[in-house]
Amino acid sequence: MKHSILIIMGFLFVGFSAMAQNSVAGTVLDSNGQPIPGVNILEKNTNNGTISDFDGNYTINVKNNATLIYSYIGYKVQEIVVGTKQKISVTLLDDNQQLDEVVVIGYGSARKKEVTSSISTVNGEALQRITAGSPAEALQGQASGVQVISNGGAPGSAPSILIRGITSFNNDKSPLIVVDGVMLPSGTNLNFINPQDIKDFQILKDASAAAIYGSRASNGVILVTTKRGKYGKAVVTVDVSTGLRNIEKINLAGAKEYAQVVNQRRLNDGGVAVYSDEEIAGFGSGTNWLDETLLDFAPVQNYNISISGGGESLKYLASVGYFDEQSHYAKGYRKKLTSRFNIDYKVNEKLTFQQDLSTRFERWEDTPNLFYNTLRIEPLTDVYLPIGSRDGRNEFSIFDRSSIGVPNPVANVARSFGEITFFGLSTNTRVRYKPVQGLDIQTQFGFNFKNNKRDNFNPEFFIHPNEQRLVNNVSRNISNNFDWVWNNTVTYKRKIEEHDFTVTAGLILDEQRYNYVSAFREDVPGQENEALRYIDAATGENMTVGANETVRTMFSYLGRLMYNYKDKYFLTAAVRRDASSVFPTKNKWGTFPSVSVGWAISDESFFKVPVVNSLRLKAGYGQLGNQNINPASQFFGIGDSNYAFGGERYVTNVLNRFGNEDLKWETVEDVNLGIEGALLDRRINFSIERYKRSSVDLLFQVEPPNYTGIPGTIAQNVGSMESKGWDVSAGYSGVKDKFTYSINANFSTNESKLSEIAPGIEELFGQQRSDLGNRYLKISRPGEIAGLFYGYKTDGIFQNQTEINAHSGETGNLLQANAVPGDLKFVDYNNDGELNDKDLTTIGNPFPSFTAGLNFNFTYSNWDLNMQWYGVFGNDVINYTNLFAHSGINDVNVHAGTLDKVWSPTNTGASFPRLSVLDRNNNYQTPSDLLVEDGSFVRLKNIQIGYNIPMKGVKKLRLSLSGQNLLTLTKYSGFDPEVSAGGNIINGYGVDYASYPLTRTFLLALNFSL
């Protein structure tokens, strides 16, 4: 309405300004080069103005020395001095901070100014700059309070997203994903969506924003809004990028150095050398297993085409995308074909209808995970057997066998046959009825279908009696997910004088149904024939089948009141009641309230600070729930197995699941305080928020002492956690002639502590390692950050016997009686005069003191440059490869230069202990700070330089070159400091078992639109 008044006024003013002397024409484009229709163009200090047409074109007559002001909702206002120019084409920059912008909130939308909770917006453009399988990768460093943790560079790997730290011990800490109003199942990662289809992300960070999603929202919520058709002529866009990925390798010992290390290990124990000097002299460089196993470059490609447009009643957008990434092994890829079709249909002024349909077809080949073994296998082993010794061996058996029993990684790759085809279909139907002014009734049905088919083939091979498969086998696993969400909401909006109310009520049903069928059979004849690798062809007696189904359901109501007075004082209050099937009947229901307030202090008449354009204060409180547990957790389950009596097999039954009939909701309480504003004609905007989240009744898999004989773990509601931190972000942007620039920085701190565990339990452990005596690398204790590294502190290396003798208890007992010079000195941490597991203590913190993102955008004329920096500071990493990299434990290979890095009587300043086979001091069988390294890093995530080629009849033609992860500044010695061992973040984060590192990517891209 306001809009059309402006249009009319605009035309009126055109009439008044007939005296103007210059005629100026041009086109208004957005930063993607798309024309913007309806832009207000006003001559400064006059009433003279116009608006742009369908194609963004405008013409206006102005006086000499006029200045034009361009403005449009969602874009930054721009002023341009006309001078003598007759053609002025303008690119308007997105303005996410603009207060009149409408943002999507749960089950509705609100003006940015009305939002009193913590919501970060990341627009699609920022996500599309990085070519990656998942938009999550591009999200890293884009928003404060949102930590994106890479899970490596293997095709299809999905980064973990942590919003404002950790308040749950539960496995799944990923936020709830809601696409155009439809909740996706917990644990869904962002891989499913084509980044090019995203209009923006709204990240609901605090409880007052997220509580409307109740029990699904304790890890925060990401609202994904997809692009929709706009009023205007059909626009066709084509985006293509293609590039190569590269892994930076580590230097490993060659044959000579390896043999010397093997000898030295024995000689140091008083044993005899394995290799004579003559033998060593005769060795070449040996096998470089990293080179043999990994390709230097792996290609990645991305193609997208879309068409969109619309008229008065029907708007449409259709897109197709194709993404293809290959691994650095000879096996492993992911190909993804996505499509989306969004339609909006206006039946009449009261009734609108929206139908979205998206599909995803993917094909994967398993990427082997062999870094650990590739680092360990010794260089004296050849990749293949000599040609002459291959007689009678099939193609999977022509490999040499490591004499120390590390499986040959090249052979592993050769016999890796795992393929997945995936089909996903989502529909989203929304009917919206506005019978009277202010009343909005919506019903929305979202349906998600996923079909996943996995085929594996394990060939018959013989490399060694302990590295062989006697009979080949083939298996298939087909799984389906049928998930649906049905949202029903009524919203009523009314303004009575200065009181503005919006009331929403809703009812939601949600079901997630998963089922699978799997089958396995041995003995496919003629295994070379790929066409026979199906279960129908197999003839073995050994076959298994499995099939099962799990269902989770949820039923919810919600209510919300948004109120403001004079557009200066804001209040939002909401409540959601959820019932979930995963809890026992008595504990099914949970209630999650929230309230938040805001004050636009800069709108007060007493507020007169000229440089401050706007300033708002806000505060919120809310409760959220968590129900992310295996739906079987409440049950005691009986499984079966076998035993033999009287020479016959008997079926046995055993307890294999210890349930908990008292399970209940995990609840998170959250307080958020914030201040945000804009300065200097809105060139600077900033936001500072402080939050504290505390959870109670944590859902946790408790591992009871083994003397209870309880199989596995028990899901329990134990204890509480607290997460607090600062989210700070600031941006600066401006235009100077042909030069536009914007710099956005964000800074986040978080500290997630365990407050309390169940009565009687004082410690929780994670990352059990059998090679460290079944001890754990991680510990969580009340009052401390959850998931600290745990082990012995060391105090250097014993240089001589005197030092060993001096390391004694009160009675003169030696603390390390088995130590000899060159061994690690372990600290008697509790000072009890004995060295034992009571001296285990925290030896590092995997969580950063702070993370920061810094993004630069510059455009000059037709050129543009973009840089994204991301930094993580103050975190430690357990480099687990340190266990063998300089010890050769079990005679595995070592890193190059090991002999110079280990202690010896002639190298007393060494940082690693002496070489030894027996290792009677347990240097390498003890969790200690020897494994811990500083994991801080600063990474140039992306640098991109683009050039817009001006061409007639083409809206946009842009070429760009970019490099991803080109530069990483770090002291860390492993492949990549950004690591997680996977699984539970508390117990997995910061532990490096040498998984697939992030890759450097070089890309060439073309964007074209017509």
Binding site: S581, P705, L772, G773
Partner: protein, 523 residues
Amino acid sequence: MKRIIIFTFFTVVLMGCTDKFLDQPLRGQQELDDFFASAEASERFVNGIYQKINGEGWNQINFLRTINEMASDDEWSGNTEQPRADITGIAHYNVFPGSAYINSFWEHNYIGITRANLAMAYIPNVDMDEDLKNRLLGEAKCLRAWFYFELVKTYGGVPIVTTWAELFEPEVYKYTRATTSDVYSLIEQDLLDAIEVLPLKSEYATSDMGRVTIGAAQSLLAKAYLYQEKYAEAEVMANNVILSQEYQLEADFENVWKPNHLHGVESIFEVGYINDQLYANIGGVYSSTQGSRADLGWSWGTPTSDLENAFLSEGDAIRLRSTIMKHGEPVYGDPDVTSYDAAPTRNKSGRINRKFYIPKGDRPEVYQVGQHPLSHIHIRYADLLLMHAEAAYFNDNEAAALISLKKVRDRVSLTTDMSLTGDDLRDAIWKERRLELALELHRLHDLRRQKINGVPRIALIMGPNGTFVDYNVNHNTDPFETTNLGEAMDKGILFDIDTHLLWPIPPEEIQLSQGLVEQNPNY
């Protein structure tokens, strides 16, 4: 407005259905509360307790028994190709408390105990034949005693859990170690209860062979008494088994350990391993773990020349040939092997355990760990006779001791000096025990419990002045053992009597129990 009414109506209807909508059962798996509904189910559950006698696979329980044997004078660690701190180190008394095998032995015996406790909680309420019910409860009790006996031998006093219900009490997380004598009291009571209700071996159908019997419970009880030096009770209990006439010695010693020979006349307590191509882990494991590296084996725990010398000094050729096989020699009882390859460059002693060897002709097509058709006998009649002899000797009933000793020796054509008395008789019984039961995984615990002048024999054999250490360091001339130095000759020199009569408590358990379960001294 009409639409709003419809909407509201709809909402109300929907809410009526929510209970059903929200009630999602456990699918594809039986629930405990529904499970114990029949005799069949009860029996199948009791069958599951048996699985933890040896555990599933080679590593859960079996392998610590192999390590025990390596830590005695009968076996080397053996595998010199892959010396490992958590195996070789323990055999050499450089004990790594965190060994996965020490840990899993603890864990899986306790899983067995909880299965037994659960059976005892649920089976009494099942509507079924009372005799069968009592038998099943007796089996559970006997097996629980077995598990606690395994634990107390290995670790000393351990936490005691005797009911299913207590797992639901918060106190269960605060248990500490019971005393050794408390654990033995429980073992004794469980076995006495089991003896009341279990059938004789001869009363079982063939298809039930392998279930525990009165004889098994009595023999186990006799052994538990012997370990406590309760010689009077041990002798009586062992004699009960003899008097039952349920058992006799195999006529030929070589048939005691024989593939596909299940539940023979001598067998009292046995895990009846069979080969099944489809189901792993109902077959034997030791043929692989202790087999030659040149014969699809792993070569852990290879016989010492010290053991061979013990046979030779006794002139015991019959048992030697069925106990130890040597590199380059034919294998007794396997006509297919004229020169056995014991891979002496990868095997400390060039010797392999014949008892766990499967002749080529008896091997199934797929010969692999967990599928060997060689039954594992835990208690056999010869063991029982020698327990009887030992107990009788300590009860000053030397005549009875000699009778039992003679029975064992007669089978292998060794004469028995019936005039033996005093320490000579004691030493003869102990030596007989070593030779008869050699490599059957009993030796370490025997050496720890048998004492001379109050000193456990293991302390006389191991340690800096131990006879075994002295033999290997100063006198050993064995061509294999002195050539392959991949395993040190001074095995046992690090033995410390104040430490090594028990194995350490797994560090994991100390952590999981918040330190309430305390470590054994000096670990």
